[in-house]
């Protein structure tokens, strides 16, 4: 059993080589660097990790490589939610074999306008098939990308049926009211924001922390918001939150994953951060320069990247 889920998690980017194959060694280096940067946990193979552009075998290969490299399972929260239940089950078992703290699980996301019963049935079937009491799930609510919201009522039904297996929710909707209504319905649910600007407001409302792509380049800021808030230093928390929010706003002027990779590439000697797997593509040199200038104006500083 791992510690209660809370804190600052990076939604970890996945590096690809020039042939578009995932580079496990570079991912391991990046994960270690993120922990050194102040991340509590690593949400590998989620949206930011381009996981849905990887086959199940590629994803399992990366999870196994992370475990083999000695990344503690307690730091890992792999994304495992696919369109097809058998795929989600295989990936989730692989995460459990790596002793992961939890898994981040999208609902099946191809079919839209599915019923509450359908979303419930998909999660229930998956949990039953995995059949492992160690399983801890963060339900992944990201209607803008998945097209399949996870209604609060469904989460309550799942909690009633599966108890502690339903450990929390990553809410990437950007809708603080939804996060607060989750906490109001299920006070001990670990609710994480996928939007950095809501980290402090969510902590104030009883939330667990954040899981964000920006933590690939701004983990120290998020970690400081979290630490200051828990130390009761509301002023420092608010000041740091404002810096984090401004950074996010600057980055979100560009497609997020491409922008994050461009920033890492600008701070690294390795060419590994210049590749995305289609349908995502890198931002061009002009936009990359404009992004770097915008960050300079914010006084943004990143320690040298592996």
């Amino acid at each position: 059993m791992h510690d209660r889920l809370r804190g600052v998690c990076a939604a970890v980017l996945t590096p690809f080589d020039e042939a578009l194959a995932p580079d496990a060694a570079a991912l391991i280096r990046h994960c270690r660097w993120l922990l050194a940067q102040g991340c509590d946990r690593l949400a590998v193979l989620g949206t930011t990790g381009e996981a849905n552009s990887l086959s199940v075998d590629e994803r399992i290969g990366l999870i196994e490589a992370l475990a083999l490299a000695g990344l503690p399972g307690s730091t890992l929260v792999p994304g495992t939610g696919c369109c097809a239940i058998p795929d989600t089950v295989r990936l989730t078992r692989s995460a459990l074999a790596a002793d992961a703290a939890a898994v981040l699980m999208l609902p099946p996301f191809y079919y839209k306008a599915v019923s509450d019963d359908g979303v419930f049935a998909a999660y229930a079937e998956t949990i039953e098939r995995v059949g492992d009491a160690r399983l801890r799930i963060l339900l992944y609510h990201f209607p803008q990308l998945s097209g399949v919201p996870i209604p609060v009522a469904v989460i309550e039904r799942l909690r009633a049926r599966y108890g502690a297996v339903i450990a929390g929710v990553k809410d990437s909707s950007g809708d603080l009211a939804n996060m607060l209504s989750l906490l109001s319905a299920i006070p001990d649910l670990a609710v994480f924001s996928g939007a950095d600007e809501l980290l402090l407001p969510l902590l104030e409302g009883g939330g667990a922390g954040c899981i964000t792509g920006l933590c690939n380049i701004a983990a120290p800021l998020a970690a400081e918001v979290f630490a200051a808030w828990h130390a009761g230093d509301g002023e420092r928390a608010a000041k740091t939150q404002a810096r984090l929010s401004a950074l996010r706003q600057a980055v979100l002027a560009y497609p997020l994953i491409a922008a994050l990779k461009a920033i890492l590439a600008d701070h690294s000697d390795s060419p590994i951060w210049q590749t995305l797997r289609p349908p995502l593509v890198a931002i061009d040199a002009a936009r990359r320069g404009a992004l770097a200038s915008a960050l300079d104006r914010l006084g943004y500083c990143l320690p040298a990247v592996h």
Copy 2:
């Protein structure tokens, strides 16, 4: 090389057993029955076939079973488009091994708001990796479900680069104007409607035919529209089209795949049509009864199902 792609294709339902496993034998029976009902081709493993709820291995198993059972490759148009390029490549190779007439290929559909360059790159990378001159693709434009439209400009770029490999488009947007602008840009493109009510208007505009879920229960009507139009009998074509459209409207009062399976279940002694894989769920008995009554009022009649 197969005949030019045109005519009436069923977007074939996939039968599941009670353990939610696909039933290859029942699928083979259903495919043979659909050909006997007047379908020109069988778009197996598409949206209606719940293919995105199946693992790649399950899908390849079904394609191999169809080939092994002697279903002619010329009748097969398997769906092969996944979120991850390696999966799409594996499935497409499996379809080619079954000598399929073409494949129906969604763009990667998890990431939204992707650029034209990104959609182009995803198809280009897939085509290059498959590396087979026999490949014929129907691009699958279904923005309502995929969330990733395939703009006409991207289709023109793909046609310019890959020629006959880009054989056509299945347009499930329900937007006749988009289909006609495709034909205007690329007159020899095989454009299929995913919406039955647009079959005749699309044929009048130079289109190739339809690929629809309704053809699982109404192939004779669609085949009659197609035959009457090609025989120059516009009056019979229009009259039959009106019956087909009324039937579609009645069925679409319910979730389509569940409704189609309910109709087959009502005409079959086998329990095989009563199961959907989550996140889809069967419609309940009351709604199933109401649907049957609505079809009765339309004078709908289905021959006994296998």
